[in-house]
């Protein structure tokens, strides 16, 4: 297998090798002319140019968009209106009642996303924690089961969404199970509660393998002798878990928690394919709101979408900073 992969890699790389070889005389000239500094610039240029054009510039433009009005996408056609877009988004009589807000869709999306994040992250952490603990035991076929739980992680969100739409439809597998258990069939995705639960469940199904892996790596890094010592003292298993496993896994658990939060806030793809935001607005999340206001909806408003995305970005920045801090602490703990 490895030998085969190597051969394929060599053959595929052949044209690239020829190009690289052809470039050499030119680059030698460039190196003689500009020195090592010129070469460093050459190595950095492609990546940083793309970075600049497609990440840094949009970041700056996002602010400009959020401060201008109108429906045009071209900046020169957009009048400056100050913080009106933010005012519009945040104007609300009662933040817990989206219908009393000027942008009721935005607040519905915010509320849905908050609820989604709360339930999905709790479920995710519990399920992947249990799975990691189980996979950390001495069981037959551990590699196989690790792969089993990881499998859905690689599937595309469209495939995930369609698989579950098919299972949850009127004549689907879920209704087959439900009727065999003696209940009435349900049109799952037409019901506000079930559709929302499906979004939570399906996204957990799709991503839990990833978090399980991180937790499993953390569990395996806990020194064995601690457990052996506990066994010698005949410490009860629950005590071992609360006093050894959990504290030592703490940093990993925190990373998983924050990563899941960051990803949860951005939920879009699989939920969109699964429910399309419906029924009504019961599964409308922030990214879908931004997408629809910015591109798809009848009353397009790029400025409003930009303002909403900046507000979401601020939340993400805070969460990411927390995560970076936690990973750093986790690394330090491991070094100790």
């Amino acid at each position: 297998m490895a030998r085969f992969g190597e051969t394929v890699g060599r053959v595929a790389a052949l044209p690239l090798v020829l190009i690289a070889r052809a470039l050499d005389p030119l680059l030698r000239l460039w190196q003689r002319w500009t020195g090592t500094g010129g070469m460093i610039a050459f190595f950095l240029l492609p990546n940083m140019a793309i970075f600049g054009v497609f990440v840094i510039i949009p970041l700056v433009l996002n602010v400009v968009y959020s401060l201008t009005g109108g429906i045009d996408i071209l900046l020169k056609d957009r009048p400056f209106i100050g913080f009106d877009q933010y005012g519009r988004l945040l104007e609300c009589q009662d933040y817990l009642q989206p219908t009393t807000c000027r942008e009721d869709q935005f607040w519905t999306a915010v509320r849905n996303t908050a609820l989604f994040v709360f339930f999905q992250v709790s479920l995710m952490v519990c399920v992947s924690m249990i799975t990691a603990l189980i996979l950390n035991r001495k069981i037959a076929g551990r590699g196989f089961f690790r792969a089993v739980f990881f499998f859905p992680v690689l599937l595309s969100p469209v495939v995930v969404g369609l698989i579950w739409r098919w299972i949850l439809q009127r004549q689907g597998l879920m209704n087959l199970i439900v009727t065999n258990l003696g209940f009435d069939p349900v049109v799952w995705l037409n019901d506000r509660f079930y559709a929302f639960s499906a979004a939570v469940g399906v996204s957990t199904w799709a991503h839990m393998g990833f978090y399980t892996l991180i937790l499993l790596a953390g569990l395996q890094a806990i020194p064995r002798d601690l457990y052996e010592a506990a066994e010698m003292d005949a410490t009860p298993a629950s005590r071992v878990f609360w006093r050894i496993t959990l504290p030592l896994l703490g940093p990993n658990l925190a990373v998983v928690l924050v990563l899941a939060l960051i990803r949860g806030v951005q939920i879009f793809d699989e939920a969109y394919v699964l429910t399309g935001g419906g029924p009504g607005t019961s599964t409308l999340f922030i990214t879908q709101y931004i997408y629809e206001v910015g591109f798809a909806s009848f009353l397009r408003n790029p400025g409003l979408a930009a303002a909403a995305s900046i507000l979401m970005g601020l939340v993400l920045v805070v969460l990411t900073l927390v995560q970076l801090g936690l990973s750093k602490r986790a690394e330090k703990e491991r070094a100790r």
Binding site: V273, Y291, A306
Partner: protein, 351 residues
């Protein structure tokens, strides 16, 4: 046999009775396997069912096709049914045509005698079989061949460019000392905080102003400078000893040669991990292509699938088959390269 059994049912510690945690473990693992693999298997099984069978409830686990028979005097094979006769006996008969609520049927053994049978008195005869048309038709009648081509092009081009640009940048950031290196590194790490969904509107305007709207390059270019890739490759290249590079310089190798003849081959494991990630990322991309591509002939598989699945009259038999096709590359990656990915994630905590 006994040894296998002992291995399979190995318990906590050695010997002794089954602890309750062993029971929980195996229930969890078996249920988990069903829940994780079941939906995909159900999809594959459903994708081989014909439209009529897909509309049935309760659904069957396996795909069936209607049995047919060649009957003398008819050019095409006729579908077979189990018919309940008036006297209560049952006979296998072939349908010639349907007229209102009854059908004109014929006994394949006795092609001369035609009988009119009410539709309620017959059951189709079926055998396990595959409705392969689900797979053939979309490629011939729809644009799926083109979608597939677009997806392959985007994935291959984006992955090659990602490997090239990221490895060049990672090389500069790991093997040279220069002013501003830490600043560049910080900038790259900082952009980890900027997911696509935060810069949708301005990115659209940038891509549109460089004329890449409705072009596959508009999908490819914004994705290739991945901070994750630079970070991963740099961390790996830091472990390559500088002495190798110094020795090459002594032999008058140019910096470019050092990069592609020494550093790149040595960084092969990290490049392999990034290749796998990039292929899976780009193959699965959804939101950005959805925004950039509005012309049907440019759709990638994911967008095409979503569009067909969003139509008023969803043709599930085609959608399911094409979902399976879309899943194939990722399943192949999973089967052959799963080990690399899991160690890659455990090591770097990325996805």
């Amino acid at each position: 046999m006994k040894a296998v059994g002992r291995f399979l049912f190995r318990k906590r510690g050695h010997g002794g009775a089954w602890h309750w945690t062993d029971v929980v473990t195996w229930i969890w693992l078996i249920l988990g396997t069903i829940i994780m693999f079941g939906p995909a298997l159900w999809l594959v099984s459903s994708s081989f069912k014909g439209p009529a069978q897909l509309a049935e409830f309760p659904p069957t686990l396996l795909p069936y096709v209607q049995e047919v028979a060649n009957v003398e005097g008819h050019d095409t094979p006729l579908p077979l049914y189990m018919v309940t006769m008036e006297d209560g006996s049952t006979r296998v008969m072939a349908e010639i045509r349907r007229i209102g609520t009854s059908a004109q049927m014929v006994d394949p053994a006795d092609p001369q005698e035609r009988v009119s049978v009410p539709l309620v008195d017959r059951q189709p005869l079926r055998e396990v079989g595959l409705a392969l048309n689900n797979y053939v038709d979309p490629f011939l009648a729809f644009d799926f061949m083109r979608y597939l081509g677009n997806s392959v092009f985007v994935t291959v081009a984006a992955t090659l460019l990602t490997l090239l640009t990221n490895s060049m940048a990672a090389y500069a950031l790991s093997k040279y000392r220069f002013r501003g290196r830490d600043a560049v590194m910080l900038l790259i790490v900082a952009t980890l905080m900027v997911p696509l969904s935060v810069i949708l509107v301005p990115l659209y305007s940038v891509v549109s102003s460089v004329g890449l709207l409705n072009s596959l390059w508009g999908v490819i270019l914004p994705t290739i400078a991945t901070p994750t890739g630079v970070f991963l490759l740099r961390q790996y290249m830091l472990t390559i000893p500088d002495e190798l590079i110094e020795a090459a310089r002594m032999d008058h190798a140019s910096e470019w040669q050092i990069y592609w003849r020494i550093v790149l081959p040595l960084a092969a494991p990290a490049l392999a991990v990034l290749t796998i990630f990039s292929v899976v990322w780009r193959w699965n991309d959804f939101l950005w292509p959805l925004i950039v591509l509005s012309r049907r002939e440019l759709y990638t598989l994911q967008i095409g699938l979503n569009t067909y699945a969003g139509e008023l009259n969803v043709q599930w038999h085609y959608i399911l088959a094409m979902t399976v096709v879309t899943m194939i590359p990722v399943v192949l990656v999973f089967i052959f390269l799963q080990r690399f990915i899991t160690t890659g994630i455990a090591g770097a905590g990325i996805k």
